[in-house]
Symmetry: C2
Subunit: 474 residues, 2 copies
């Protein structure tokens, strides 16, 4: 029998039984106690160590359950062959350098960065904890492929009341981000389609569809949005639009244009409109513009929305509303994919919506973003280098056409050297029709996000651009 | 000024300030207080209601922050135009019937169902809570595309120590499930590839790759796994294999066959082996079989693993190890996709691994599944209708060839009527070479999962099949 010289320390945070468990486990793993060797009885070891017998019994129970020792009836405890067991060492102190991190700027005018200062962390933690407290085998088992029913119902209600989307919960598919849902959608619609897409647009949608083998046809718009004649000229199967608040232009598509687009889709079987409603939550003037889906009488609109802007990009929950005729193709082609959003999180999110937290948070953020918008707008209007501001009164960025010989791309480069990240509108132009862009002054237009910036940061960022255009040295 | 007849109830769980907030909010939403109407001062209302002034001030602060009222300097509080605000009603009592639920069986011999009875819920809740407690703006902001660095390092260590995978953390991509990672992989490798895949196999992998437009070539194996000559005959670009524990056959590929397969891949540029290591954690005889990736000297193996079996299918975390030469294509083609796994969950999972909980849980489950395996095996050996048992000593299912005139598919159908879900091996056969299957007795083979079943359920399920084969009525 091995001599067990365990130095127990009752002052440690680690309970005594765990100290015994650890000592024996490591001794077996290290080979100090060999396979087949007999271990002392719990009575003997507890007396030897001067601890309660139940303490040793707890340690032994754990070692038995994990396969480090076995109990032979009427004979005692024996160390097991542990060659099949997993032993994973703790992290080493010297970590490898982290790669692929984003560059850090003093001020980043990103249009994708949210302000989390008012996020109801307490409420979020409460609903998450309630979910965890109730977390049992059911919550760990595989959930429904299209998403938890409770969440689909909660999103369905929200979409009807806030966005005028007309659907039932079984038309909803919950997924980990818009890009993932687009990957599913291309599988539902089948390969080799042609897509007309607004130009400029949200590059990730363009690139995802392109990666999935779709032919992408960027189509420029006017102040009412995408031009349906130009769409027709491309002979697409699908049109990808953001009618309520086009990114990055901020265009709102009026009813007439919407009806024309819906008419195009209804003309021929197999035509679809993908309505990306990604940041329609934040409008600072008048009523929210209802969704295109709500006006669709022919079941041609696929509605896509996300909680990335309205809650957080880190929670990765998006939703897609399928027209009824695509439900069977969805089940056949994609019904076998398990949901990509953890069940725990879906349950917590449903509670966050049903508890009214989401509604309150949206209303609060709308006020905060409106305040930032008004302030940023006022600051910019005072600047001599600002020729025109557009895309205002919604979202969390502004488009600023500059009064300058230099291009916006040049300003962006200069600003980077000064620790400020601005964006050029041309970064959002898909490459296929570059010339026309310049006719619209796109090359002189900056895209400046303000959602996550403080007033001081906005002032400092503006001063930086002013300095660049005035030829000031760094 | 409106008459506010608020009935406060200090016995309610809802704080007094929230009762005031709710009353005014609903009155404004209902139009009982109209837009532009003046509201009482906090001093007046607190005296009127007999509550502390700070209580009313708290309610007013919330109404102001959410845009229901505005404060005009030196004039007082006024109700706002709320047409732009979100109001989402609470869930109605009558819910729509849930659709798409799985059929419930009395006993389900599913090979995909885990036993959660020993899951360390307390530890999982602790690491999740610790993550939530630390949850701040950083955790809500978008994370790294390929996954949180801490989790990638933890998985990297685990893979090296437990599976002999040789990689560094920057080669790892974390994603929401194997199918999602396969969708990424097809984008990295490019369209139109031909894939040789073991037959029978894991149908979801086959269907995902097929959905992504790859040409699938099922190749049958022998007792050592896929036959490399037959692979060569198909002229594929990619081979999809499960060398450490083939699903569903349970085959372990010996070193010689592995080297032959690696040799095939190294022969020509652009050839890759996808190694799906999905349930290699559970072996009940001898040492774990190391990964194929660990023997790969030419960077041709893409290693795929998951926590679905080892922790839970509901947490949806899989990982993919890319060979170095695929890192640049990954960044170019897929670098813009945000991670599909929530940051909170990745952080909690890293803590679960680094805290040693995962290692302990694996060892415990290995013992439990081994116990079930031994018991199920012994029970089956006593049955006259059992001709042969194979695929044993690993995973959580057995293959049972039956001594019967009827096919396994017929038995499965009969069992369904008796509330028992068994599986026929032919359900896992990809359709392109059906004839050969019958030569192997595949049509007479049942696949019976035991992971989530109790001994009583195993006995009852066996009795049901015995009854069917003995021609007993239901």
């Amino acid at each position: 029998m091995p001599e067990l010289t365990i130095h127990l320390d009752s002052h440690l945070k680690q309970p005594l039984y765990e100290q015994i468990y650890d000592y024996i486990r490591i001794s077996i793993a290290d080979g100090k106690i060999s396979c087949g060797e007999k271990l002392p009885s719990t009575r003997f070891l507890s007396a030897h160590l001067g601890v309660a017998r139940s303490t040793v019994e707890t340690a032994y129970a754990q070692l038995l359950s994990e396969g480090y020792m076995e109990a032979k009836p009427c004979r005692g405890y024996y160390a097991c062959d542990i060659s099949g067991l997993y032993t994973v060492s703790s992290p080493a102190l010297a970590e490898e350098p982290q790669t692929g991190k984003r560059e850090a700027y003093r001020i980043d005018f990103s249009p994708d960065e949210n302000d989390f200062s008012c996020f109801p962390f307490a409420a979020w933690r409460r609903v998450s904890k309630d979910t965890l407290a109730g977390s049992d085998a059911t919550l760990l088992a595989a959930g429904e492929a299209a998403g938890e029913w409770a969440l689909r119902e909660a999103v369905c209600r929200y979409l009807y009341q806030a966005r005028g989307v007309i659907c039932r919960a079984h038309q909803l598919v919950i997924g980990a981000g818009n890009e993932y849902l687009l990957m599913l959608l291309t599988q539902i619609l089948g390969p080799g389609k042609t897509v007309a897409i607004e130009n400029p647009t949200y590059p990730n949608a363009y690139r995802t569809l392109e990666n999935m083998g779709y032919r992408m046809r960027p189509v420029s718009g006017d102040k009412y949005g995408i031009r349906v004649e130009q769409v027709e000229a491309q002979q697409p199967d699908i049109v990808y639009v953001m009618p309520s608040h086009q990114f990055p232009m901020g265009t709102v598509m009026p009813l007439e244009r919407r009806l024309k687009l819906l008419g195009w889709a209804a003309q021929k079987r197999g035509r679809y409109i993908i309505e990306d409603d990604h940041d329609s939550e934040f409008r600072y003037k008048g009523k929210p513009v209802p969704s295109l889906q709500g006006s669709d009488g022919s079941g041609t609109v696929i509605y896509l929305g996300t909680f990335s802007r309205s809650i957080s990009p880190a929670i990765r929950v998006s939703y897609m509303v399928l027209p009824l005729k695509l439900l069977a193709p969805y089940r056949i082609k994609c019904g076998f994919y398990a949901s990509t959003v953890p069940r725990e999180q879906q349950t917590a999110l449903a509670a966050f919506l049903n508890g009214g937290y989401f509604e309150r948070y949206l209303n609060k953020m709308r006020r905060i973003y409106k305040g930032k918008h008004d302030c940023f707008h006022a600051l910019l209007k005072q600047e001599a280098w600002v020729k025109q501001i557009y895309g205002d009164y919604a979202g969390i960025h502004l488009l600023v056409e500059v009064n300058a010989k230099q291009s916006a791309a040049w300003i962006v480069d200069e600003a980077k050297h000064r620790g400020v990240r601005a964006y050029a509108l041309t970064e959002y132009l898909m490459q296929k029709e570059p010339r026309q862009a310049y006719a619209n002054g796109f090359d002189k237009t900056l895209l400046l996000g303000y959602g996550a910036r403080t007033v001081e940061e906005l002032k400092e960022g503006i001063a930086c651009i002013r300095g660049i255009l005035a030829g000031q040295p760094k």
